[in-house]
Symmetry: C2
Subunit: 293 residues, 2 copies
């Protein structure tokens, strides 16, 4: 897909997501500090990869108007945001910087940061349950997919593996990243399929695509932690190594990682064979493989 | 209702809840420490008030078999359990004892306790979404009710109010407890109504009942913190005062609290007027008003 066309559509999705998110948690209530803390992290920029993927997959699946999928897309982003807030806590990674800005607990304190993360989870399910133009079956599929991806056998399992003495060989590291990162990126496709009532062919193709994309994304992230530019990347370079974490770079080397990102990207794109109108997803995968932030 | 009949039905519900919960998080997985931490708190006893209320309301609403409502009832208990784990954390109430046992973070450490709480939320929604014998409409009603009750305008708002300089007069304290306690108890009735496809009359009656019951429960809790027996109550007496928290006892005095519990219990029971088969709920309210733990 032509770069300009891709960028225009990406931007259309991204702006719609920002607008939808920016309307959340605006009430002037006695507990408004909680709203402030949630909005601080929810609206802290970010690439909005996951919701963009949800919206594009919903469009591809044949949804009448992709805007109808915004509650699903934003629900995923809320869960992703809660995970970042909690990951940064002193009892987790104890990070003070995220996307170039002070982390939530640095600004609001540990108590409120924990509670902001806690509240974002049910608010995500509320977005799904209250989505105005999707039916109950689609919503329940979305709830099940999101709960599975982010739950005790998904993202939280990945976080447990990451924080315990784990991930020393490639198989272990792959399991860790599958759980911690890939599940949520695959979930983005699942939510798009649920919203768009996708055919089995589109479900299989887009979810296989997303699973490969997710791992490529994580390996690229490990790479950028070694060879990236701190200002562009938004967090300190070398932080994984400082925290004593094994990364793909330790296992495969820089060149090995680059080759693996390319292989996974090719596989992601190959998974889309046989379904039409996939230009955006193909360009999306290629751009992610070449990102520097 | 005859005491023996009440106790037998309560016990039947309670045992079914325990059995359902005990089958969760049993897999032998590389992140099994997470499962252990979740099971430690999920299976730490407790009165199971909320799930019992869900099951009885589902029965009253006319569900074919109340066992079908167990996933909804247990989902609520998982969310309640997550809230207890996080409430006890060092950055929250910093409690070391809960129901007479060391709190989750004392046993598993702060990191795993936070993650166990984090994982229990999506697992609750998964139980609802995957409930085998309830339809999508009932499930979405349940998701919406649970997310609302436990979210940024519900339980977490209450926790924020509780941990900030708030709740000095009766209206503020009432708001705090409405959010922190009553919403979840009312939610128990809502989940029962959703599972049982209750009529509007049963919805209104049981939810008004539960809202009053919730506040009576909280005032009784404040009372027991002053006049209760430590061994029976399961946590140190006087802990509210030590933490500098304003309670109903400060505002209404011991006798005033007892009268208010009675008044709210009477109102709860009065709300059930006009719907049949409410013996169990009436006895339930009376027993709660007279509990010593």
């Amino acid at each position: 897909m032509d770069d300009k066309l891709f960028d225009a559509r990406y931007e259309e999705y991204r702006v719609a997501v920002e607008e939808h998110l920016s309307r959340l948690f605006t009430d002037d209530v006695p507990w408004k500090k909680l709203n402030e803390a949630m909005r601080y992290s929810v609206l802290s920029g970010g690439k909005r990869l996951r919701p963009v993927l949800t919206l594009e997959v919903a469009r591809l699946a044949g949804i009448r108007d992709w805007h109808n999928a915004l509650p699903f897309a934003c629900a995923l982003e809320l869960v992703h945001t809660y995970s970042l807030i909690h990951d940064d806590l002193p009892c987790m990674d104890n990070d003070e910087l995220r996307r170039g800005k002070p982390t939530n607990h640095v600004v609001y304190g540990e108590t409120l940061a924990t509670l902001a993360g806690d509240a974002l989870q049910p608010e995500a399910y509320r977005l799904i349950a209250e989505a105005p133009r999707l039916d109950a079956k689609a919503k329940i599929e979305a709830v099940a997919a999101l709960a599975w991806a982010s739950g005790a056998n998904g993202m939280v399992a990945g976080q447990v593996l990451d924080l315990t003495d784990f991930g020393r060989d490639e198989a272990s590291l792959r399991l860790l990243h599958d759980k911690k990162t890939c599940f949520m990126i695959k979930c983005a496709a699942e939510l798009g399929c649920a919203a768009g009532r996708a055919s089995i062919a589109v479900c299989e193709a887009t979810q296989t695509y997303a699973a490969h994309l997710g791992l490529a994304f994580q390996i690229q992230d490990d790479l950028l932690d070694v060879v990236g530019d701190e200002t562009t990347f938004g967090k300190p370079i070398g932080s994984d190594r400082e925290e004593g974490k094994t990364t793909y770079v330790d296992l495969l080397g820089v060149d090995g990682c680059k080759a693996e990102v390319q292989r996974l990207t090719d596989e992601a794109i190959a998974a889309l064979d046989g379904i039409g109108d996939t230009d955006f997803l193909i360009t999306f995968a290629k751009k992610l493989a070449n990102r520097d932030k």
